[in-house]
């Protein structure tokens, strides 16, 4: 800014070495604003560096610039753009008065600087003056709209920088929601790791099964159900996957992920205890009641000559509760 000083301002004639108040003001705003910009840029740069793989020393330098920019900007603001000069406040005795009404304590009143006249001021007047001063000094800050916008932007940079540690909290989901630990040829075992056998499972029985020798079982849990002969209404591949009237469905509810632990063997319905969704075992575990939408995915299984079962493959579709990219597939 190169405006000429106001007409009234003649006490300090500007020289080459003594910038006018206005120039100093503009310079302060420029320095503080640039410092805030440095914060914004380095915060975003830190986020980019992190996504590219991260490097401890560079991370340190960028975070330093991000924090330091805000620090320098605010200090410059305080030193160059806020009113100078000191306030004087009285100290009052700390101890409670002995007599609640009491003898009036001597009140020492400071004379204003440059004057020998003491200041007489009632409490109401003092409060009004303080209020005035506070409003005025606050306005000295709020009127710097451009600088405040830059400060907000700098905090945006800091927010980006703070996102860096947050991203370390967990891996990208990748394909994890689309696969379970079932693999072709894995035997179906019970919770003790013992292979289940068709000869031990009477009609109407239900058994929770897991892939043999796998420790991550939460998403692989399934129920193996033996239904009365000829009742299953499965067609195509689904029918081939249900050998000898045995059918196997994911045990994870497609509504909110609870284990579908209840079986009504008269209605042939699996019922989820959490929100009472019911699935028709005879008809591909399609939802018949409750808030669930998708059927429980069917696990393709084969009955071995010795009566044990093996998986033909993983579930043909994602198990458990829905998410936005379920039909699109893995994004990252």
């Amino acid at each position: 800014m190169s405006e000429s000083p106001a007409p009234g301002q003649t006490a300090h004639e500007p020289t080459a070495h003594e910038p006018t108040a206005h120039e100093r003001d503009a310079r302060g705003e420029r320095i503080a604003g640039s410092a805030f910009l440095v914060s914004l840029v380095s915060g975003v740069a830190l986020l980019v560096l992190y996504i590219l793989g991260g490097q401890t020393q560079l991370e340190g330098v960028l975070l330093t610039l991000c924090l330091g920019g805000i620090g320098v900007g605010i200090i410059v603001w305080a030193q160059e753009l806020l009113p100078r000069g000191e306030d004087v406040e009285e100290r009052h005795p700390l101890a409670s008065p002995v007599d609640p009404v009491g003898v009036p304590r001597p009140l020492v009143i400071e004379a204003r600087e440059g004057s020998d006249e003491p200041v007489h001021e009632t409490t109401i007047e003092r409060q009004a003056r303080e209020q005035e001063e506070l409003t005025a000094s606050t306005h000295l800050i709020t009127r710097r709209v451009a600088l405040i916008r830059l400060l907000v932007a700098a905090f945006g940079g800091l927010a980006a920088a703070i996102a860096v540690p947050l991203f370390s909290l967990g891996p990208l989901p990748g394909r994890s929601l689309f696969v379970t630990s079932w693999r072709p040829g894995l035997r179906l075992v019970d919770e003790h790791g013992k292979p289940v056998n068709a000869n031990d499972l009477p009609v109407g029985s239900i058994t929770t099964v897991f892939p043999e020798g796998v420790s991550e079982i939460a998403d692989a849990q399934a129920v193996l159900i033996h239904v009365e002969s000829g009742l299953l209404r499965l067609t195509g591949q689904a029918a081939e996957w249900a050998p000898g009237d045995f059918v196997c469905y994911s045990k994870v509810c497609t509504h909110a992920g609870c284990p579908v632990g209840l079986y009504n063997d008269r209605l042939h319905e699996l019922v989820c205890p959490c929100h009472q969704s019911a699935f028709d075992v005879l008809d591909g575990a399609k939802r018949v009641a409750g808030p669930a939408v998708r059927p429980l995915p069917q696990l393709p299984i084969r009955l071995q000559p010795d009566g044990t079962f093996v998986a033909i493959s993983d579930f043909p579709e994602p198990i458990g509760p829905s998410f936005w990219n379920l039909d699109i597939g893995p994004v990252s």
């Binding site: 992190y50 330091g68 200090i75 100078r84 004087v88 009143i109 400071e110 204003r112 606050t138």
Partner: protein, 499 residues
């Protein structure tokens, strides 16, 4: 004032800025029209302030606090640096807590650090290696946390020295000295528990020494040690116990203590140096808002930036190099963090002395590990009351002493610092011995002499210098300006003589 043309507004701005620079006591706008809805200079933020005020009356209630005056001097920032280090410790510590596993059960290490591949390490140590070598930005935040801890203790110590040498602990602030000493001890405990958590060889050695010191407590030592460590060292339970102390118990005490400490500063109003218009019965300085708020916020970010730079560029506590804690191993040279060196030094300086009196054995670590630290800490905590006993001064003091005003106190402080330095050096006698190519026994002999001689010399020398300075007269701080008036009981005013 109604609508102005833009040119008028520019002129108003300029003259307003000129007023700011001319430095009258209150160089602000003449009246309060800024809050009037039709004021042309009102900004979005003014409207936001009004919106909030209309619903809370915040301006009215916070006025007293916001216009409170705080004396401004760079030495008053030391305590703020300590506070800001603590905030950084809480922030980075929270991050580390998400990854750290407080469990000393053994696991097999299978990470990127080759030399430890296949080694049996504790789950705690394994998780610290994961934070350092596998978690992105993990090493940065671990190193910032450790450096911030060193700065936390450092700034507390320098702040303590400032309060001591200026007599800021005198009535009515002796109560805040007690809270502050408590904070120092909690911070010390935070440091020790913190660097023990990685369960590396070095920190395990430190815990073993603390266990031995606890054993030396008269008569009940074995029971106390067993209660602290959940049995005979090393125990499986101790790491998880240490973790709860480090992340819950001590931070809770620190937050409560810091609240009381800072609250008392607000309540009692800050001390000030004997300069200019400053007197016992006034406070001269910047208003809390906006002056102090801006400066302190700026300082916070600068402290954070500085620690981040150090933490990003300078390696600290590379626990993968130290290896996991093994009960049958110890490393050399073994040095603790700087604030623990004095405790280690006392143990190294003490002579081989373990008397058996009437069948009762006094363990060697008892005097250097329990009695002497206990006496030093007690002396520190009770100093305001010791000094009052010596000087008989029970008056309130709001003006600070210069160090040369009170040679006795200043000499005592100098002696204490010199003692701390010598004892800390003794804690590194193995490293110094190698550096000077001197047998450790000789070096320890020399240090034993120094540990007595240096504080005595420091006391005498400081006393002498301070007395000399005091007798030459105080530095010219300028005569107080203005006159003092006292309101009499009848309501009139009289001038106070000799102000």
């Amino acid at each position: 004032m109604s609508r102005q043309r833009p040119a008028d507004r520019a002129a108003a701005r300029t003259s307003d800025t000129a007023l700011v620079d001319a430095r009258p006591p209150r160089p602000l706008e003449p009246t309060t029209p800024v809050r009037r809805p039709d004021h042309p200079d009102r900004t979005e933020l003014d409207r936001l302030v009004d919106w909030f005020d209309a619903r809370t009356g915040m301006l009215q209630y916070s006025r007293t606090i916001l216009s409170k005056v705080f004396p401004d001097h760079w030495t008053f920032l030391l305590g703020e640096v300590a506070l800001f280090s603590f905030i950084i410790l809480v922030a980075t510590g929270t991050f580390l807590t998400f990854f750290y596993v407080p469990d000393s059960r053994p696991v097999t290490y299978t990470g990127p650090y080759g030399p430890l591949d296949g080694a049996q390490v504790s789950a705690a140590y394994d998780s610290v290696l994961k934070i350092s070598l596998l978690t992105r930005a993990g090493l940065l935040f671990r190193q910032i946390h450790h450096w911030a801890a060193l700065l936390f203790l450092g700034s507390i110590s320098v702040h303590l020295a400032r309060v001591f040498f200026t007599g800021a602990f005198r009535k009515p602030r002796d109560i805040n000295w007690l809270i502050g000493s408590g904070l120092l001890l909690f911070a010390l405990a935070e440091g020790i528990t913190g660097y023990s958590l990685p369960d590396d060889l070095l920190s395990g050695t430190g815990l073993r020494i603390m266990y031995s010191a606890a054993l030396s407590i008269p008569f009940v030592g074995p029971w106390v040690a067993s209660l602290i460590f959940s049995g005979e060292f090393p125990t499986v339970e101790f790491i998880s116990r240490l973790f709860v102390i480090h992340v819950m118990l001590l931070p809770g005490l620190l937050i409560g203590g810091i609240g009381a400490h800072v609250g008392l500063v607000f309540l009692q109003k800050h001390t000030q140096y004997k300069l200019g218009r400053r007197r016992e019965d006034n406070v001269v300085g910047l208003p809390f808002w906006p002056g102090q708020v801006f400066r302190s916020t700026g300082l916070f970010f600068l402290v954070a930036a500085t620690i981040t730079l150090i933490g990003g560029l300078i390696q600290i506590n590379p626990v993968w190099l130290y290896g996991p804690f093994l009960p049958y191993a110890a490393s050399t040279p073994a040095q603790p963090d700087w604030y623990v060196g004095w405790l280690e030094g006392l143990l190294r300086l003490a002579p081989s002395f373990e008397p058996v009196i009437a069948g009762i054995r006094i363990p060697a670590p008892f005097v250097p590990g329990v009695v002497v630290p206990g006496a030093l800490v007690t002396g520190l905590v009770l100093w305001p009351f010791i000094e009052r006993r010596i000087t008989g001064d029970d008056r309130e003091h709001n003006l600070l002493d210069w160090p040369w005003d009170t040679p006795m106190r200043t000499a005592t402080g100098a002696a204490a610092i010199s003692l701390f330095v010598v004892v800390t050096l003794a804690g590194a006698n193995d490293v110094i011995g190698i550096f000077l190519d001197m047998p450790i026994e000789t070096l320890t002999g020399v240090l034993r002499v120094l540990v007595v001689a240096v504080p005595v010399v420091a006391w005498l020398l400081t006393y002498r210098l301070a007395s000399h300075r005091r007798d030459r007269g105080a530095p010219s701080g300028g005569r107080p300006r203005g006159i003092r008036l006292r309101r009499t009981a009848s309501g009139g005013f009289e001038e106070v003589e000799g102000a």
